[in-house]
């Protein structure tokens, strides 16, 4: 009975979710129709504002080069994001575990965060060339911070009574870290990863703007110099879809593995 009720509940949830999305979908469709109407009515040149239909046409006609570019950017985002997650988590763990070193490190991390990291892109091109690595490096310096800060909050927001209880039975610092602090930090880590993954996409595009021979960012820049505005929009759409996909992969991992957090939905 319970499971039936839960199943019915899940079905209702999905229907309710779709129901909530419907107004947004309708609004989006209306905006596209207006856009199309304006572009046709005022006969705007394609290089100024292409109509949605011509963007879709480009998406289909140029899908070969677009998917190659998307693959390049996706690779940069994936490597950059995973490395950001590792670096961010490591920074948080070091600060939480080694208090004295953490006190020394934390202000430096914050200081580093105030550097406009996008301005580092030309430096990375100079140091590391035009390939994958400078983009990954740029993504890491941009995206590790939210991971580190969120996870650190999670590591430190442990119930002190729980720590006292474990200490009382002789638990070591490492045991407290492994058994309480790290599991406790996972919901916070997931929140940090969601911010980081969108930053990773931005980092990849900026990295390609600064110097690249392939990728969606490169394509946007190249197409705009050629006045191929439809292609710019087509590449932009692929960037957004890429970001969305990565975001929902994180959401799925959270839903699947960090399932003890009470959800409002």
């Amino acid at each position: 009975m319970n499971t039936l009720a839960e199943q019915a509940g899940a079905g209702a949830n999905i229907r309710a979710g779709l129901g909530r999305l419907l107004p947004s979908f309708l609004l989006f469709a209306a905006m596209l129709v207006i856009w199309e109407g304006v572009a046709r009515l005022f006969k705007l040149p394609e290089f100024v504002l292409p109509a949605p239909t011509s963007i879709i046409r480009v998406l289909i006609e140029r899908q070969g080069p677009l998917s190659i570019a998307a693959w390049v950017t996706a690779t940069e985002v994936l490597f950059g994001f995973v490395l950001s997650a590792v670096v961010g988590a490591a920074v948080a763990l070091v600060i939480a575990r080694f208090a004295a070193f953490g006190r020394a490190l934390y202000p430096l991390v914050v200081l580093f965060q105030t550097v406009p990291k996008i301005a580092l892109a030309p430096l990375f091109i100079l140091w590391f060339g035009f390939d994958l690595f400078p983009k990954v490096a740029l993504i890491v310096v941009i995206a590790f911070f939210p991971v580190a800060i969120n996870m650190l909050v999670g590591l430190q927001s442990v119930d002190p009574n729980l720590v006292a209880l474990l200490r009382s039975v002789g638990a070591s610092r490492n045991e407290i870290l492994m058994r309480i602090q790290i599991p406790n930090s996972l919901p916070y880590l997931m929140a940090g990863l969601k911010v980081a993954v969108t930053l990773a996409v931005i980092g990849a595009i900026v990295g390609e703007f600064a110097g690249a021979q392939a990728g969606l960012g490169y394509m946007i820049q190249f197409a705009s110099t050629q006045m191929e505005t439809s292609l710019v929009f087509a590449a932009l759409i692929e960037v957004s879809v890429l970001g969305l996909l990565f975001y929902y992969v994180i959401e799925f991992i959270e839903w699947r593995y960090v399932d003890w957090v009470p959800r409002t939905d």
Binding site: L165, L166, S168, G170, W260
Partner: protein, 272 residues
Amino acid sequence: MNTTAISPAAPAHIEARGVCVDFTVAGRTNRVLHDVDLSVPKGGFVSLIGPSGCGKSTLLKVLAGLLPPTLGRVSVAGVTPIEAVRQRRIGIVFQEPTLLPWKNALDNVAMLMEVAHVGKTHEEIRQRATDMLRLVGLEHAANKRPSQLSGGMRQRVSIARALALDPEVLMMDEPFGALDAITREEMSDFLLEIWERTHKTIVFVTHSIDEAAFMSREVYVMATNPARIIEVMPIALPYPRNEDSYAAPEFARATGHLRHLLKQGHRQVQAA
């Protein structure tokens, strides 16, 4: 001070003499516990009752080895509280259940045993945890996470976790304070049952007069300014106690006197 309740014949299981605790905040030293004497025989049930700020939770922390006293001497089972904790003679239950939300009830009960390296195999630990869940009447909820349990059930899991290491003493800091009135009375019945079955020595902090009088052999009444014990009051109700105990004349007498003492303490504070 009324000290007739402390029988010199019974060897004290928990003993405090002249315990003072000072907290220094921003260079100013405050005495949060003043000259406390306390003696609990083995298998006793003692409540600490008093208004907020009377130091009852501080006293419990000192007895449980979580806080060293500034002055005075404390012994639990003949050793210092910290040593008693190390020997796993003390189990602690807080006002909040402090369970791990990512573990189910069984794993929560097993958690301290795993960390304590008690020399048991994984199966033995799970068996012990299952037994403890049965003792608190939650064997059916072994696979449920804390979020799927009611407040009272969570606190039972917390009690099962404290009992799992088989301590001689249970230190309980307002364990039922966050529960509704009916659940609270049920939990009092339940705790007395556990106490009669396991013969633990229990120190129970509360600010509920009824709760203290219903369960305890002795109630230590505390007051503020300075935070201290003003009276040790024996409750002469026979065990086992049940719903009828609430209607007994002795219960009315005891709660009446406790109420009087607490109000008196309150007036003194306001007059001071």
